[in-house]
Amino acid sequence: MDSSFIQTLLLTFKLAFLTTSILLVIGLPIARWLAYSKFRFKPLIEALVSMPMVLPPSVIGYYMLVLYSPKEAFGSFLENVLNVRLAFSFEGILIASVVFSLPFMVQPLQNGLRSLPDSLREASYTLGKSTLTTFFRVQLPNIKPSIITAIALTFAHTIGEFGVVLMVGGNMPGETRVASIAIYDEVQSLNFATANQYAIILFIISLVLLTTIYSVNKKQEAWKII
């Protein structure tokens, strides 16, 4: 295995790890809000969060490129004020994959929270505990399987993404060239052996992650809440 192969794999995992970490932080409050809010336009927000599941990745990629473009307000703000250019950079694909994997983090968490009986939350409130304490000490510890599912799904989905990264990041070694794109590239150059190495690694990782999810969820049935 040569150094560019290792570099590409490391970059892939770095992207997946950072995407998952960022999404865990922003996904929890979104999931909590979606699980309990009675806001009238909640279905619209839910639809927006879930859009990446149904939209072609190229559509998301296209909009991200438009957003990053120095000709548009956000892009020009980044370029002129912060001196950053997101298109075809690692930061650019990181933001894009955060957007693209959002539903894979939020949905399991939201379903997990909804499956808890309301009385658990209410019992904690009547015991004088704040919503924050209740969330971290009562609600989250009781949806561990959902949290593990959300993390594993987000990680696996980020490793598996292709279209968004290609549109937003291109294929720059060490910057935006992730494993899924490398496979495409190697096949185009008829390097089937290298393509095969990447493919086997992605296959095994995805299999391990999904097996984890299913075994965790199987156990969950055994520890019924009440």
């Binding site: 009986p117 009385s119 000490r137 019924k224 009440i226």
Partner: protein, 295 residues
């Protein structure tokens, strides 16, 4: 014990399975009482309990605990549950599955006090179970933990939502004693939702009878459930479980409490206002009942 009269004067439109129903409650509850909210299911008992705890908001009205205003729609005051210093025992007990019995009780304390927690665990006979998770407890054990947890923060008002409905008759009697014990020991004003007559008679010092969202009667259990115009020598209250026609009479089976079955002969004219499930009183006045010690 400080005197904390609870003043309730609220209105709320409820959406029940039988269409909208207005809950209108105006009453006062004395300090240190053990009050039973009695009535058929869907009458608004649990909603009233939730309004007192701050988990449900009424449409308008006032709830005062002593001099503290908990809710006042005109002054826009609505103290959150966290600040009401109550203990609430849920119908499903709502024990935290991720914590052991001991951790559930420690979590409930406002100021961590391992000694007080140990005492509470001993009082409720939970010593053997302190390291167990709720999923490994029986219904009766869960109920005891839930009661201990509700008392752990030394509440000024204890609210029990049908605390014993899920238990069998024997366990029920045992735990009724425990609730009465806890009440005598701590003197906390306690409000309990119940539709079990036996339970109400055994525990309550005061009954608020609610039907269709309105208070029908309040007072001591004997007064609320007995018609005072009858000078009966023996009075048993119960519920009609069966009406059998055996010409020319009817045999009515009345179940009193949870275990006493009484069969009474009734003529058609007696049955005019009676139907299955009605709360009734069986009484006799012609004979002098004989009393003798059991066992």
């Amino acid at each position: 014990m400080e005197n904390h009269l609870i003043h309730i004067d609220i209105e709320k439109l409820m959406h029940t399975a039988n269409g909208p129903m207005k809950l209108t409650v105006k009453t006062e509850i004395g300090s240190g009482e053990l009050v039973a909210l009695f009535g058929p299911s869907g009458a608004g008992k649990t909603t009233l309990l939730r309004i007192l705890s701050g988990l449900t908001d009424p449409d308008k009205g006032v709830v005062k605990f002593g001099d503290t205003v908990w809710y006042d729609s005109e002054k826009k005051i609505n103290l959150p549950s966290q600040q009401r210093n109550i203990g609430f025992m849920f119908q499903d007990y709502a024990l935290f599955p991720n914590m052991t019995v001991e951790e559930n009780i420690l979590f409930a304390q406002t100021v961590k006090d391992a000694k007080a927690a140990s005492e509470l665990i001993s009082i409720f006979g939970l010593n053997e179970l302190r390291k167990r998770k709720p999923s490994k407890l029986s219904g009766g054990q869960k109920q005891r933990v839930a009661l201990a947890r509700a008392l752990a923060r030394k509440p000024q008002l204890l609210l029990l939502d049908e605390p014993l409905s899920a238990l069998d008759a024997e366990m029920r009697v045992m735990l009724q004693d425990e609730i009465r014990h806890a009440h005598e020991l701590l003197g906390t004003t306690t409000i309990m939702v119940s539709h079990d007559l036996n339970e109400v008679f055994r525990l309550a010092s005061h009954v608020v009878m609610i039907e269709n969202g309105e208070i029908k009667k309040t007072g001591k259990p004997e007064t609320v459930f007995s018609d005072n115009t009858i000078s009966g020598k023996v009075q048993i209250t119960g519920q009609i479980a069966r009406i059998e026609r055996q010409d020319p009479i009817n045999i009515v089976t009345v179940i009193s409490g949870s275990n006493q079955i009484i069969k009474v002969i009734a003529f058609d004219s007696d049955l005019e206002n009676l139907k299955l499930g009605d709360q009734v009183m069986v009484y006799t006045k012609a004979f002098n009942p004989i009393i003798s010690k059991l066992g």
